[in-house]
């Protein structure tokens, strides 16, 4: 018991130190500006934005997963509902930290409300995620008080589910309606983001639950996670199918922008022409999940979900960077034909700050908020 207490104390001390570093990073970004990032007027959106997309989508995935017991009434999943809602809130908070530090002038965010532009997908994305956060917090507070099934509580569950479905579509449309970058264009990005959201949310929940299960005795039967592992396998199968379809469409086209894109799309290397991160972060865990014994074991679940979690971040970064790596119009006069990107220390620190906030919330929530509670 005292060893566990010591571990908890050390863990909180590490997180506290990480918060201090995060606050210093925030101060530096406000004082010096985003020149601290390894960005320029070609690679505009970098790691902090990739992290935002990654965490925001994972949060949506967790909310969609929470809808199984809360909206669709599958009661056997109720022991996971509170934790799912809490993880969705904490993950979304991490996402907001990342995007907050990515924005050039966060104080002008007030104009999102004072001067809204309803034709902007960024406005919709911001508005939907903000409302989703409020809805999730209120829903969680009601669940914490024991109100799971009142009309208002059910309404909030349904509202959060709908918001979690729409939000990834809006993230996709931020890219999908970009005229200047044909390689993002179209509805494919929205569908892709929604599928990635569900897959990464399920992966995050499975990974987190397995780790917490190892560290604590939370009373949830381990076999229950087998069903989540199956849901996770189905989600991964759909993303694998969609990714193959996306590759097929992209490789068949002769639109000049796509031909240029093919030259630059392998930011993280390739194995026999296939993206490394897709092979190791999507196809490999999918194959592992297809093996029943691996899927049933705790180790198998942890490895598969961890690979997906890492792979998903790299896949988001790959798409983000490949579409930006060559200059548009006259910017080709100032910049080379192809721009390589590696994050600066400050970008890594923003990433770390977002994760820290998320992990602090996870830790405190797990300790004080009875996340495996079920309705009476």
């Amino acid at each position: 018991m005292s060893a566990k207490k010591g571990l908890y104390g050390t863990w909180m001390a590490v997180l506290g130190f990480a918060v201090l570093i995060g606050l210093y990073t925030t101060y530096k970004l406000f004082a010096d500006g985003h020149v601290l990032f390894n960005t320029n007027d070609v690679i505009l959106w970098s790691l902090p934005l990739g992290v935002y997309i990654y965490l925001a989508l994972a949060s949506s995935g967790l909310t969609i997963l929470a809808a199984l017991p809360l909206v669709f009434g599958i009661r056997k999943y109720e022991p996971f509902a509170k934790r799912l809602v809490f993880l969705a809130i904490a993950t979304l908070c991490g996402a907001f930290v990342s995007i907050g530090l990515e924005l050039g002038n966060i104080f002008n965010m007030i104009y999102i409300m004072l001067s809204p532009n309803f034709s902007s997908p960024i406005w919709w994305m911001g508005a939907i995620y903000s409302v989703e956060l409020v809805v999730l917090v209120v829903k969680f507070a009601l669940m914490h008080k024991g109100d799971w099934h009142s009309g208002f509580s059910k309404f909030l569950a349904t509202a959060s589910f709908i918001l979690a479905l729409v939000a990834p579509l809006m993230i996709g449309s931020v890219f999908g309606i970009t005229e200047s970058r044909v390689t993002y264009f179209g509805p494919v990005m929205s569908i892709y983001c929604l599928l990635m959201a569900f897959m990464s949310g399920t992966a995050l929940f499975l990974f987190y639950s397995m780790v917490v299960n190892k560290l604590t005795e939370n009373g949830v039967p381990v076999e229950m996670y087998d069903e989540f592992a199956l849901i996770f396998t189905y989600a991964t199968a759909v993303v694998v199918g969609f990714t193959l379809l996306k590759f097929a469409i992209e490789s068949a086209t002769v639109i000049p922008e796509f031909l240029v894109y093919h030259q630059f799309e392998h930011a993280f290397g390739s194995i026999r022409g296939l993206h490394t991160e897709v092979l190791l972060g999507l196809f490999l865990p999918f194959v592992l999940l297809l093996i029943p014994s691996v899927r049933a074991s705790a180790g198998g679940k942890i490895i598969a979900s961890l690979l997906i979690l890492i792979g998903t971040l790299f896949m988001h970064m790959e798409i983000l960077l490949a579409g930006q790596s060559h200059p548009v119009g006259p910017k080709a006069e100032q910049y080379p034909e192809f721009i390589k990107y590696f994050p600066s220390i400050w970008e890594f620190l923003v990433f770390s700050f977002a994760l820290t906030i998320m992990l602090i919330l996870y830790t405190l929530g797990e300790r004080y908020l009875k996340l495996t509670e079920v309705p009476e």
Partner: protein
């Protein structure tokens, strides 16, 4: 209401860069940022080689992707068709820059005019520091600061927001031509109201077959290009097999 447009005559343009330099002075444009720019291209192999030069600026598109995508309407259209930016509303999300098909929007990654903030003199006791020079002339940020720019837009934009060409709306408001048009020694830039059939821009667009950059994406740019400088001659030929 007027709808402003610019015609750039590529036969008259000599590629001197006067438009870009005058633009920088007029609009206090910081280093690394280009409101007025160019696309150059060299085609062929020597001796059959040719150099193309296309001056660029904000196209003040009718259906501007930057305006549509801006979450706070910081990027907006004026009644006269000018695409304008309000740094006071800009959250620095850079979506306009990401979304601009013409690569004419830039972000202030740091406090602008860094060079002129330097307090170190090149020769201690012998020359003044860049910051001292700015102080001496009583200017803001740079010695060549133009306060008139501040009439419709922050004269110097702060870090964390984007900026781009405004067709010199502060001059147009006073019935003056954009600075780049006025400064062009070859009269290659013609500015005016495209809604007025008697304006010079309307007449030129009727006389020559103009083209616009990336017309196919449907943004309806309001910078038009006519003609092209080409002194090359070739002997009449039908080619061969």
């Amino acid at each position: 209401m007027s709808r402003y447009a610019m015609v750039i005559d590529l036969q008259r343009c000599v590629g001197c860069g006067s438009c870009s330099i005058s633009c920088r002075n007029e609009n206090n444009v910081p280093e690394g940022i280009y409101w007025s720019n160019k696309i150059t291209e060299t085609v062929g192999t020597f001796p059959d080689v040719r150099y193309h030069y296309i001056p660029t600026l904000c196209n003040h598109c009718e259906y501007a992707p930057c305006v549509r995508g801006c979450p706070t309407k910081a990027m907006h259209k004026l009644d006269n068709g000018i695409t304008m930016h309000d740094p006071k509303k800009c959250i620095g999300c850079k979506y306009c820059e990401f979304n601009c098909p013409y690569g004419v929007i830039y972000f202030n990654w740091q406090e602008p005019h860094q060079f002129w903030r330097n307090q170190k003199a090149l020769f201690q006791g012998g020359s003044s520091s860049p910051r001292d020079e700015v102080k001496k002339v009583g200017a803001e940020k740079t010695p060549y600061f133009n306060p008139e720019r501040g009439a419709t837009l922050a004269a110097n934009r702060p870090k964390g927001v984007v900026e781009k060409c405004t067709f010199c709306d502060h001059r147009v408001q006073k019935n003056l031509l954009p600075r780049c048009v006025e400064a062009c020694p070859a009269n290659a830039r013609v500015f005016g109201d495209i809604e007025d059939p008697k304006s010079d821009v309307s007449k030129l667009l009727g006389k020559f077959r103009p083209f616009r950059l990336r017309e196919q994406i449907g943004t309806n740019p309001h910078v038009f290009y006519i003609r092209g400088y080409n002194p090359a001659q070739y002997r009449p030929t039908k080619g061969g097999v």
